[in-house]
């Protein structure tokens, strides 16, 4: 059975079908890219997996158990963490405290232990925020806020992480670091990655498979090189360019 199994999932907002009959599977340890023009339904699909919205039809099975009807905190405890396209760090808390919230959410009120301190510092170092340990999140720039979201997501010891556009606004050097980070998430923590990104060039360097959404429908999936040459995908992006 697949690690993540999305079966015929549909979500409507009033008259708008944001996600229409989407089905796909992921295996453990994969890094999969999710692309599609603006408004294609990518973030909505994340919200359905993460339990933010209930869905109208379909089924999502994760690690052998259905996620239907679970609330976000519950989905997180099952092992799915996420970042937000529009960042939502805890602004009035330090980077360290932001990460601790992830530990608390996953492990409960254990209190501060040397082990937890060490792990928090390790995670913040991995994402490159070690110099901002005790800086309040509101003082961080956008890139560092995105890194912080990845850090605190990792603190929940996820099996699957959902990344929603983490590369926007990075320069070349930062991009290289970010790609290394995403590889490290998979290689060092063994976390499966589902990743929404508009920066295609960078995405193509890392992902092993691509899913393409357009108008809520999954129009194509498979090997990245093949997918980007697919006429339906080119059409979807050209349509966007025409607007």
């Amino acid at each position: 059975m697949a690690f993540l199994d999305v079966q015929h999932v549909t979500k409507r907002f009033g008259g708008l079908t944001a996600v229409a009959d989407v089905s796909f599977q992921m295996e453990q340890g994969e890094i999969v890219g999710l692309i599609g023009p603006n408004g294609a339904g990518k973030t909505t699909l994340f919200n359905l997996i993460a339990g933010t919205f209930p869905f109208d039809e379909g089924r999502i099975v994760f690690d052998g158990e259905p996620l239907n009807g679970l609330k976000p905190y519950h989905v997180c405890r099952r092992g799915i963490a996420r970042t937000f396209q529009i960042t939502r760090p805890f602004l009035e808390m330090t980077c360290y405290e932001n990460v601790v919230v992830g530990f608390i959410g996953r492990d409960g009120f254990t209190g501060e232990t040397p082990e937890r301190r060490r792990r928090a510092e390790e995670i913040l170092k991995l994402v490159g925020l070690d110099e901002f340990l005790h800086t309040q999140a509101r003082h961080l720039n956008l890139i560092n806020k995105k890194k912080l979201e990845i850090a605190r997501a990792l603190a929940t010891r996820p099996k699957l992480i959902l990344l929603d556009e983490v590369l926007g606004g990075l320069n070349t050097g930062e991009m290289v670091q970010a790609l290394d980070l995403i590889r490290a998430i998979r290689d060092r923590f063994g976390v499966t990655v589902l990743w929404i990104e508009h920066v295609m060039g960078a995405l193509m360097q890392v992902v092993e498979r691509l899913l393409v959404l357009d108008g809520g429908r999954l129009i194509c999936q498979g090997d990245p090189q093949t997918v980007v040459r697919d006429p339906r995908v080119i059409e979807a992006y050209l349509g966007e360019a025409d607007d």
Partner: protein, 309 residues
């Protein structure tokens, strides 16, 4: 603040508390006891409003619940006041849990409105259940201690207040406190990290209401007369103003605000009962222009003392 300064301040505070009954006259001792009551009220309301962002208007009502339950335990079951205070606390906790579970899911302004409605309803019930509560006449209850002594009442209330502040301080520094602030900062993000937001908010509501129940019970037995006045919005807004003027979401804020405003009201009382209205307006102004209140202004003035924050 540096550790040594905290110790020095605490020591000074203890000293002042210890000698106050020896040097203060009856009137100022009474004022000091009122200060302690307000410190307990403001500090516990701050735990809810300042650390989880839930603006509840039922805090005075829970003080009233504590006072009336404890008072009635003394009158009808001849329980000693201090034991009655524990019962009052327990009842406040249970009612806090019920009210919390009922209305916290709604959140935001709805929580404010439902808690407001709850406290007004409770006040009307107490006003009208004359047979049991003596209505607006008030319920005469025994003194908080077996013997009458303002000085010892002060020591007792002082000890309880310090204990309460200690507990609040521990909570703020604990994982629970971190979860409180996460929920206040961004509940969607907190939920995505596995935090059960409703549980955390209800927990804060119950803890805060329980503390109000304790404060109210001691206050009632100190006055020896419990009237529906304690549940009034007048008291609620005073506590709110004290917390905001002192510094919402800071540990010292409600303490500073409570003492400052209570002492101030003693001086301006002669101008009539409009002072709560004035405090309310000042609080509004402060929450707009200096959201961390007096404590925040102090921190701005002396940033070095606070480098470690």
């Amino acid at each position: 603040m540096p550790r040594s300064l905290v110790w020095l301040l605490s020591l000074g505070l203890f000293g002042v508390l210890a000698v106050l009954p020896l040097v203060a006259g009856d009137y100022w001792l009474h004022t000091a006891i009122l200060c302690l009551f307000y410190v307990m009220m403001a500090a516990s309301w701050n735990l809810l409003a300042g650390y989880t962002g839930q603006v509840s208007f039922s805090h005075a009502a829970f003080a009233g619940i504590g006072a009336y339950v404890s008072g009635m335990c003394a009158i009808y079951f001849h329980l000693p006041p201090l034991l009655g205070a524990l019962v009052g606390m327990a009842v406040a906790a249970v009612l806090g849990l019920l009210l919390g579970v009922l209305c916290i899911r709604m959140g935001g302004i709805y929580l404010s409105l439902t808690t407001l409605a709850f406290s007004e309803m409770l006040r009307i019930v107490i006003d009208n259940e004359y047979e049991i509560t003596r209505g607006t006449m008030g319920l005469s209850v025994p003194f908080v201690l077996p013997f009458y002594s303002k000085a010892w009442a002060f020591y007792l209330m002082g000890a309880v207040t310090l204990g309460l502040l200690y507990v609040i301080h521990r909570i703020i520094r604990s994982d629970l406190g971190t979860a409180f602030r996460a929920v206040q900062n961004d509940e969607t993000a907190a939920a995505s990290l596995g935090i059960h937001v409703v549980k955390i908010r209800v927990a804060a509501f119950v803890i805060s209401s329980t503390m109000a129940g304790l404060a109210g019970a001691l206050y009632g037995h100190y006055h020896q007369l419990i009237t529906p006045e304690i549940l009034s919005l007048n008291l609620m807004f005073l506590v709110l103003a004290m917390t905001i003027i002192g510094g919402l979401g800071t540990f010292a804020g409600p303490v500073v605000g409570a003492v400052f405003l209570e002492v101030l009201s003693e001086y301006i009382r002669i101008y009539g009962e409009f002072h709560v209205l004035i405090f309310g307006l000042v609080a509004l102004f402060i929450s707009r222009f200096a959201p961390e209140g007096l404590v925040g202004l102090w921190r701005k003035r002396f940033p070095t003392l606070d480098a470690q924050r």
